[in-house]
Symmetry: C2
Subunit: 413 residues, 2 copies
């Protein structure tokens, strides 16, 4: 068989994903595999077993990242790498992350059974703690590997029960001895569900994001004056929740006001004392602004934070605003992105040049080497929920595109 006719085994990929979905399965049809939990350990054990079955050289680094290396003809050349994460959100879905590990596993199984030898080595990776929902922030171990984050800082992170990251890593037996440190890469591919509705809306199978949006996080703290609601006239009230409500709507209107190319969201709010007959005197809420255009996002924040100040002043509610996190937009390698679009077309899959609104481990790899991502449709655009779903057909299509883009990169001299 010619190399160009090689295809992954869709049934095997489906079975692999189904077997993984049993680990941490939730009654609602999703999975809960919080990082460094017992379920994460089970998923890692199964992954390592599968990696060894196809003779990969498995190493675990000191952040618990799992690497499976397949030798090439010339092992002095930097490898092609692909991976994602096996951890999940609390009550997450059966595709987010895990598809990006089972996908390259299926690619390597296909190469293995067809005895295909590539010029360069190929490495599959499971990055520890991509989700960040047990230990904040997200994408922590790929960040340490890339040199962007500090290992000991990550070790000292604690979960809601006060358990330390490093202690939990040791407990599940995945604190390796290999330093968590970048090494040269020829290319990095991450295969992932879209987690949005754009592919489905446009009726396309394969998405190639030109990069990842910038991500700006803010935390807003408002004060009001708590009083019994009955005896306190409307006039002279300082209701922190009403001030927050005005601000939430300002955030919601921001993308339209800025002319599009942006999303802006308030996802989290805490209200105090949160009693039905007491005027709220303390509110905290978050703001998440994302755009392909970093300056536009900053401009948007400047506009909306001016609004916040005016609203706070008018309602007599002291305001504190914190800039919690800013990540610049991250354009992927144009060559690799084009390669994905071309490969999809060659394989007969409809495809879309798009952008990724979500951050991924690929964000950090993109700082080190040519990087790109392959997206497949999320049904209804749903993600981070138990009903997250992608058809088996689309899973197979994405794995075939991954197979041929990886092959092309891995055969570059």
């Amino acid at each position: 068989m010619e190399l160009k006719d090689l295809r992954v085994n869709g049934k095997r990929l489906q079975k692999t994903l189904e077997d993984m979905a049993k680990i941490g399965a939730t009654p609602g049809g999703g999975v809960q595999r919080l990082t460094l939990s017992d379920e994460d350990k089970q998923a890692r054990d199964l992954l390592v077993k599968w990696l060894k079955e196809i003779d990969l050289e498995v190493t675990i680094d000191e952040m618990g990242n799992i690497f499976g290396r397949r030798a090439g003809r010339n092992n002095d050349l930097p490898p092609v790498m692909s991976g994602s994460h096996v951890d999940s959100q609390p009550k997450g879905g059966r595709f987010d992350g895990i598809l990006g590990v089972m996908g390259p596993l299926e690619v390597l199984r296909t190469l293995h059974e067809n005895q295909v030898i590539t010029e360069r080595p190929i490495v599959i990776v499971d990055w520890t703690n991509e989700e960040g929902s047990r230990f904040a922030p997200a994408m922590v171990a790929s960040g340490v590997w890339a040199g962007a984050l500090d290992r000991d800082w990550a070790y000292d992170k604690t979960d809601i029960n006060g358990k330390r990251f490093e202690d939990e890593l040791i407990r599940i037996g995945y604190k390796g001895t290999v330093p968590c440190k970048k090494s040269p890469l020829h290319a990095y591919y991450e295969y992932h569900i879209e987690q949005g509705p754009m592919l489905e809306r446009s009726g396309k199978t394969i998405g190639a994001p030109k990069g990842i949006l910038c991500l700006h996080w803010y935390d807003i703290y408002l004060e009001g004056e708590a009083n019994q609601v009955g005896p306190t006239p409307m006039e002279g009230r300082h209701d922190a929740l009403c001030a927050a409500a005005e601000m939430i709507l300002k955030v919601n209107e921001l993308p339209e006001r800025m002319g599009g190319n942006m999303v802006a969201t308030v996802g989290e709010i805490q209200n105090y004392p949160n009693s039905r007959n007491i005027i709220p005197d303390k509110v905290h809420f978050t703001v998440d602004i994302r755009s392909w255009d970093d300056d536009l996002a900053i401009d948007a924040w400047n506009k909306v934070s001016d609004d916040f100040k005016q609203i706070a002043a008018r309602r007599g509610c002291p305001l504190r605003m914190e800039e919690t996190w800013r990540v610049e937009h991250s354009p992927f390698s144009e060559k690799l992105v084009q390669g994905i679009l071309d490969t999809a077309a060659e394989l007969g899959y409809s495809n879309l040049h798009m952008i990724s609104g979500a951050g991924h481990d690929a964000s950090y790899m993109n700082q080190l080497a040519p990087t790109a991502m392959i997206f497949v449709p999320s049904i209804g655009g749903r993600s981070h929920v138990e009903i997250e779903n992608t058809t088996w057909e689309d899973c197979t299509a994405g794995a075939n595109v991954l197979l041929h883009t990886m092959l092309r990169s891995a055969n570059e001299k």
Copy 2:
């Protein structure tokens, strides 16, 4: 000394309030005496000791209500009653409730030391669980006494830790044997801090509310669609928190829209999954509407609930609305209210004919007998907070008005 020259002992009242404020004292200068807690028991024990010191006949009923009866010349006549509650909000203040028990105690001490005999008996009362913050709802034991609520239903209420009301009543030794059942009353007076800013704003010392506002409680449940915020375009989102924000502002604008004579508040909100990078898919919030005009309050609800339906439809967020509680407005005895205003004037205190926005045990007594309340100023209008405060001078003024209004009623044949 002529009866009209009789005055309470302000220093003694202050000392009594200060002693009570030590029980359940909080670092922030308030008190925490949740109903049927150890602190409630301590406060009750001290109250009973004080009642016995002035030879009152103390009885405890099966709801834990504490009565202290002072005989009159004609003990066949229905008594004059005055009281309030010794329990507090979590992190509540040193005046709410307790002033309405220590006030009549000071009145009875004054009558005792001056050997004043009234025509009718006088009864002081501490009503169990006025606040309702440990066991909902509020004003429960005065409600049972009035025949408006069922004793066994109240017994079965549980706190957040699953402890039963009746079990806790037994545990602190205050489940009495006397049936909790109304008996004829000639008049009921409740002395209380205003819990609002109207007296302070108008520079008056004594307030006589013409009654209590109606109280309408609603619970609103919204659904949205949870998705990762980054990859989900603004168009087509179903953001339950944005829908709630619009509704909260509609509630806030309602009193002005209805032409005043009303307060409307959202005090409580829960948002799910409450994660900064997930679009909210479930929100619950409360609505509290109060007015002197029951029909106006109903009309306001009809208007705002129509708005809610439109907002929910426009944002594609399914809406459920529950009518949780409705209490009609409760006008007090005009004669007693006028008596309070006249007495205040005779004693040289500035006074205000007003309304009470908060519910009180007096609400239930008002169903049984001529009832009125005496208000003194809350500094800054603050209440249900640790910094709740009233000057000792105003506490004394209110007690003197209580003394003379009670004397007048108690000497009616």
